[in-house]
Amino acid sequence: MMKYSRPLLAFLALFPTSFAVANSTEYPLEITNCGMEIRFESAPDSTVTAGQSATETLYALGLSDRVSGTSVWFNPVLPEFSEVDANIERLAENDPSFESVVNKRPELVAAQYEWHVGPTGSVASRDQFHELGIATYIMPADCDTKDNTTGGDGTRIDAFSPEHVYKGITELAAIFDVQEAGEALVADLAAREASAIAQAEALELPQDLSAVFWFSSPDQSADPYVAGRLGAPGYMMDALGIDNVIQSDEEWPNVGWESIARADPDIIVVAHMDRRRFPADDIENKLAFLHNDPVAREMSAVREGRIIEMDAHAMSATLRTIFGLEALSESLSTLSFAP
């Protein structure tokens, strides 16, 4: 896609293609979702979520009263939803058991990742729910352009773009017959996306900027998990005209510091997270490594102080990707790229 056309497309996305006013859903509603035909006779009254992005999307659509249980949390809930979330049961912080989900008698299970609800889902396969008359919906951002059978965290077969997030919002809005809320949410996010891109373009950044997104590492100085070229960070870099030094199609490939240092990116984006499983989850440890490691400290980005901190959840393919794009665009304006 030509770069200049992005803001235009984003602008067009503000308007539904039919230019019709938001109408109400006609049931039965049939949707093809992650390769499966699903059918709704009416809007589900009760939903269990497996995945923070599915949960937050439903909250953002004003559907918290239809959510009877949540699970698979990575970060604290977005602050604007902390109040509604406090009243909804968390079945599990991580993977819920099949029975705990079924026990809530939901009409719909909405999942963020296929590895929880999918062909080899750790909670259950979709068929297992369908046999009990429970519908399933997987956020399209995880399957439309992604093969979840290979690579540690799946492998992108095509580039992610916020269109897939917007599709998830629009489809969930149709399922729950709240299409007006869906269109308003998509319009808001698309406007924020367009304005972040416009803001970065106004900076007139150098043409050949490159970057790496560092999520975490299995041990302090071990080979890090970095963003592949087709996931959410890949989209952000592409949208703002930055090259990713990592050329893998895997979502979070494990790449050696030797390769990264030799590629010498202009910018290093480090993930800020509350998770504390690996030493490098702590952003202070990441920064300490960058400044002290005999090789990493020689990279241009470190020597010139072009290190950007970003919320880890914004690096995953969710509606928070837009917040990440905004943060990246904002941070770029504070950096100096003088030769």
Partner: protein
């Protein structure tokens, strides 16, 4: 058992081949330093080494210099130390327990190290103050202590042939201990891990040399040399143990003390290695057998030969792990198993044919 420890006739290898040892080691370390994820010209590599070793003052890119000196050289040396240490532990355990399947992880050490690592990283034990390495080391020590206690309790029963019985008890206790700690690891992962976290842990459990720096060499090199010295010092005792604990006792060797000391020191060496690079399988099992085939069962030759071969094997495996898939580093345990399993099969077949 179809494979005995002492019956293969060695190839006629004379002592004057020994001068090759430092040369082979040097070549292996140089290969480990010059081959990596990215290609760096040979002359750059020599310049960097010259700069570091005698301050030659060549102008080289600082990133290249750091990669060669701080990443690759330290990594190759530690790979060599680990290979030597694990192979020696295999030699000792196979001799003491008179079991061809004995390997350094028999004593529950790798299972314990996994549990320790997982307890620190996933369950958050120590609240960030304990590193993954320390957790793994503590876990390994704990598992080893448990296995020894269990073996001691099981081996102190009545019956003839005390020495043989004790060896059997150690093996069984090791299996029980390993199962217990593997279950604990699985329990911790199932209880609190999401897929992304477990992935990092699995990577570490298959062995991972990517985080190695000079600090690790400062710990690994003395550990490997100490292990080598202990084995060489007890080479005659190891020969005697090959014929059974009772024969060793009849030769005037204080069986309990020597066996306990040897097992504990090899457990320590293994635990140090595992805590730095994870559990790397097959080195400790295959190398002693291969070397017995080449230099014979006399520990005067077997001990140094195994240490050398283990070092070269692991440096080589590490090189393969870095280049076999472009742009990606495989867990080294995958490579050692892929190379080691067929090699072991060949040794088994040829060993049985010789007789």
């Amino acid at each position: 058992m179809s494979l005995t420890l002492a019956s293969n006739p060695p190839l006629r290898l004379h002592w004057h081949w020994a001068w090759l040892t430092p040369l082979v080691l040097f070549m292996a370390v140089m290969a480990g330093t010059s081959i990596g994820e990215t290609s760096i010209p040979m002359d750059t590599i020599f310049k960097v080494l010259a700069n570091q070793l005698w301050g030659a003052g060549y102008a080289v890119d600082r990133i290249d210099a750091g990669i060669i000196w701080n990443y690759r050289l330290s990594r190759a040396i530690l790979a060599g130390c680990c290979g030597a240490g694990l192979a020696l532990a295999g030699v000792v355990l196979q001799a003491l327990l008179r079991n061809p399947l004995a390997d350094p992880f028999l004593m529950g050490i790798s299972a314990g190290a996994s549990t320790g690592a997982v307890a620190v990283t996933i369950a958050g034990l120590g609240a960030g103050a304990v590193t993954l390495s320390l957790g793994a080391f503590a876990g390994a020590g704990l598992a080893f202590a448990l296995v020894v206690l269990l073996a001691h309790a099981a081996g102190s029963g009545t019956g003839g042939g005390r020495g043989t019985q004790a060896a059997g008890a150690i093996i069984l206790a090791g299996i029980a201990g390993s199962q217990l700690f593997n279950a604990l690891t699985a329990f911790i992962i199932a209880r609190s891990a999401s897929a992304e976290q477990a992935r990092g842990i699995m990577f570490w459990l298959m062995g991972n040399l990517s985080g190695v720096r000079w600090d690790d060499v400062r710990l690994g090199l003395p550990a490997a040399f100490a292990g080598l010295l202990v084995c060489l010092w007890h080479r005659r005792a190891l020969d005697a143990f090959t014929f059974g604990a009772d024969s060793a006792a009849s030769l005037g060797i204080p069986v309990r003390r020597v066996r306990g000391m040897l097992i504990a020191s090899m457990a320590l060496v293994t635990a140090v290695m595992v805590s730095m690079v994870g559990a790397i399988g097959f080195v400790g099992l295959v190398i002693p057998h291969a070397m017995r085939f080449i230099v014979g069962s006399r520990h005067t030759r077997l001990v140094p030969a195994s240490a050398l071969a283990g070092a070269v094997f692991l440096i080589g495996a590490d090189i393969i792990s870095r280049i076999i898939v472009p742009g990606q580093v495989l867990p080294i345990g995958v490579v050692t198993a892929l190379v080691g399993a067929p090699a072991f099969a060949v040794i088994l077949i040829r060993g049985s044919r010789v007789r």
